[in-house]
Symmetry: D2
Subunit: 351 residues, 4 copies
């Protein structure tokens, strides 16, 4: 077989003329030798390529979630789940990619460090878009408006536009709210006869409240108050990210994840926690790397990269309110049995 003149050619398809000719060394321009600047550029470009892919996947997920309804029998939720799994796999690689940057020693970095000022990874628009699309709002960012001052107006605007769109966190909240387990599933009727009901309190929750109390150790009793605020009294949570309804439904999914309808839902909620875990692990390893390469000096952008990352590490968890729901689980063997009609609705058609 000979190379066909027609058809697609690998290098053209991948536009390698662009990709492989986008590395101009500042050290070369300055007439200095700095072998490792190539690594510095290529590594950051690889990050940006993957950020593009991550944004592409998350955008497609947001579009699916923005539909008025995600029918349980459509493939949409499966698609969401599958694509978010892929994002997780990519983030795992991005953490691993730090291994490569760590092969650059401090002395090698000094060869070209000052030539890059004031450019900084801080100016990665795409990374901030990823954070915003997942649900990090500007007021929750460490430094709040600081990063905008470092960006060109069009780039700051691009980030702001994403911040105005409903994020994955918000859309997940809405999706959780739409699940009407308690409203119309007969839960009330099942419990009403059996328990003395506080006025205004759904008996499922008063029942559950009691079971939860029984499963606590002595030094965990403070959690009862939290439980009441979170699931019974609809008081604002410390985070305020999930609505009262969404919180309840998310906990419900975690508890009854063994029902078919919840298999994928539960895996999805776990994936959200993976997002936070991978993003924070990336920040953590990034801190360690920066520490090793520049010590107590400042980053090329002028700020102490390490301190910023440290603050971001502590503050930028997005799905922590979902993680916190774990606090309120009880032993599976104590779970209230669901009414038959609800059980049926959580499963497949049976002839």
């Amino acid at each position: 077989m000979h190379l066909s003149e027609q058809g697609i050619y690998y290098g053209d398809y991948l536009q390698l003329d662009k990709i492989l000719n986008a590395q101009d060394l500042e050290s070369e321009k300055a007439g200095k030798t700095a072998h490792d600047e190539m690594l510095f550029i290529v590594t950051h470009q690889a990050y940006e390529l993957w950020f593009k892919q991550v944004i592409y996947e998350i955008d497609s997920i947001l579009c699916l979630f923005e539909q008025p309804v995600i029918h349980d029998n459509s493939p949409d939720f499966y698609t969401i789940f599958h694509r978010l799994s892929r994002v997780k796999t990519i983030l795992q690689l991005l953490v691993k990619q730090i291994d490569i940057m760590e092969t650059m020693t401090p002395l090698d970095f000094l060869d070209f460090r000052n030539l890059l000022r004031p450019a900084s990874g801080f100016q990665s628009v795409q990374f901030k878009v990823v954070e915003a699309a997942l649900g990090l709002k500007q007021p929750d960012r460490h430094g709040e408006l600081y990063y905008i001052s470092q960006l060109r107006p069009e780039h700051a605007a691009a980030i702001q536009k994403i911040e105005e769109r409903r994020s994955l966190l918000e859309l997940t909240n809405e999706w959780l709210e739409r699940m009407p387990f308690f409203k119309d599933a007969g839960l009330w009727e099942r419990y009403a006869p059996a328990f003395p009901v506080q006025e205004g309190l759904h008996p499922f929750w008063s029942d559950y409240f009691q079971l939860y109390g029984l499963s606590l150790l002595d030094n965990e009793r403070g959690n009862l108050t939290r439980f009441e605020r979170f699931f019974i009294n609809d008081e604002e949570t410390p985070f305020g990210k999930l609505s009262f309804e969404a919180r309840r439904n998310a906990l419900f999914i975690m508890l009854y994840r063994d029902f078919p309808l919840f298999h994928l839902h539960y895996q999805y909620l776990s994936l959200l926690l993976d997002m936070d875990e991978m993003m924070s692990t990336w920040r953590f390893r990034h801190i360690n790397m920066v520490n090793r390469i520049i010590g107590l000096r400042t980053g090329t952008g002028g700020s102490t990269g390490k301190d910023y990352l440290k603050a971001a590490l502590d503050r930028h968890y997005i799905f922590n309110e979902i993680a916190a729901l774990t606090t309120f689980l009880i032993e599976r063997r104590s779970l209230p049995v669901l009414p038959a009609e609800l059980q049926q609705r959580l499963g497949f058609v049976v002839k």
Copy 2:
């Protein structure tokens, strides 16, 4: 070929009768079903097996370092380096091993959690021995004496015994002190004529001090004071882990690592930073895991595992003073040329 009656048999050699019969489930004793307790036990046993190996390697390293002298031409330092590399590889696996524990969901853990009280990973004697052998002293531990209260006297004593032995950090400090670069290498004579020397100040350092100043950005000027305190005036450092002499020699190795004598030395110093990085990454991922599995509840030991780990994460860096030396590097192209005689001493015999 038939199975020889003589000779060694795989299962006997590995004492699998012990290893594979050391898993008794508390849930079984209590007549409850808790499938994941086996995973819980096996994972912790795998950790303890590897801790044994880590201790075995570090102990052999300490023994080599405890010799009055490590001759540059003996294989000892290479052996130290090789074994510490192995420890790093093992620690990387231990971080990865958390992936397995994370396959245990919160609900599955609740099945047997309360049966284990008050046992806790906190009571891992071997882990504390690893920390102590590397250089973590009791007063630097978060909670200081707390952990001792959780251990049997003989176990607390075992840890204390290691704390009294010279640690890897201390032995590294001594080893660094023994390198007499400045004392007898003619460095003084080389610089004396060329620079106006402050009284009592070694001209190499005043020279270097100036070069370092030139390589700083405006907002890094505060580092000059640090430099003076660290390398010129012998004032106590914030950490106080490396002596004045050791600090100077370690920086010298980092600067002149291109000379043959320093190749392995430099790799060794980098390995120490890897130790901190792997231990802290392990703590970090551990925190995330604990957070996911028990949320805001307490660990089986009664304390909030997450808070302890968080405090340990921030405080238990052992080789941070070596990491901080990075702050004081200058561009390789500006490095003072070493006197010929010293250059010779840093290399191989040349006929």
Copy 3:
């Protein structure tokens, strides 16, 4: 808080007296120094610990599959899926664990190699049990009966016992056969009017046969014959592992995986391929490692470990017939639309 005299103590619970006192060095007995023998022992013990866990998980999966029926609305299939995912995670670690063994250099291994004869990893009963439980039958093993000659009778018997139990492959085949998509789902009726039907040929398949042909490149036309033998004529396949019914249903799941009922089923089939991938990757890295450590010499067991592993690598794929189904997929956009009644049966109850 003080250490309670009652309750469980970490070290007792984990039976560390057994685990940490099961390392006796042959080199020590022989009065020789061989530092790395400890690593050799501990690494193999860690492998055996994890094999125990893998067997524990697979056994629980087999038990669930051995039930006469796995009701789609029971949690059983989800449990199977979850536990097999865990096995995958463990196998990933076991591959990574080779990194540690590779820190042992050839020269270090020679220090104690001859003392271990004729023991060999070949004698790992548990590893052979894992292979058998997944579906590797003795006649398919490279060397067939050879390994039995290396084992004590009771160990050979233990493996044989597992070989006689229905394996994961066989139980998966049965589970696939029980899915009655074509028998009673109206597929026949839907297609019958539209296509001229060969005698005895289900119209869904003749329809699909045509579509598949359209999606093939010229040089793939040979696959049409395969298709006919696999899915239409019920001729024996080269592997003969999946029955005619099971093959059809597995392909059906792959094609229509977007329907809720198939979400987990499809993930499960993918996991089976992961099993083969991880086992073969382990064998492959094992070969490379053996090659590096003993070169062309023989293993401690007397055979050339490398050649055995190489033959096993090529022959011991268990789920390759499922992997091969990929060959017969067509573009999603060309998939025949399923009859409404069947669509309904593949989804959740909708009120």
Copy 4:
């Protein structure tokens, strides 16, 4: 601080306008929906970026090796070692990157597969350049000239040009030849009195030959012939990659790696084996991936990618002759003691 108008801006420096605008989907041009084509493009682009970096590092290594002499006291060999370590780290990432591609299911690939014909990863010029720069010659390639027929003339020429340059394997061979351990180190004189010397046989080797024989098991006796052909009689080896002198010196380094001069040399030889290991692991995982995604179909380039990769996996080992040297090691405790003068030359200057 406000964004400076002067200075370097992150996005400009990385030329993100090129990098992030180089993804045109064929499916989009064809008016079809194929979500995963973006992943396909980005993943391949990330590979090509890293290949560029790998070539950059290897090229710099070749340049250093092409010097007439690498002085033991120059930093060059350390630089070579450091950069090749980095290549290893990058290759490890490239293996891991397959995880991402595996998130593309067969059905998703079919959405756009036929649109790409006849482009193929086979046409990656850079990958072939990497292979050639390491030492893979065209006649040793599976398929020999086949791949050239798939490339544009300028691309085939680029590969050929690298094939004509001395490869890392050849330069390593020359570097090994330059080490004059046996010629002028008094080895001959040390052994001459002690052993009855065969005519023309260096007594070090006859001595070693005997020791090696003693360390062999019965079924390894055939290796003695190999030893004679490899190290004593200078007969062509099966591979013919290392010259007689180079083989001897490489074995010598492996045996006496505990001497300072050999620390880095030994690590370097190990790194070469890592190259083969990572490249072959990449091929192996690639095979598995291709198998899962296209089964028995053909790749987009028209050939059966899997078969090509399989053949390449078996044939494309480059440094296997170095790996094979392991076969000829003897116990460290039996090693002939080197003459004092040679010992001195393998170490540092001692005052």
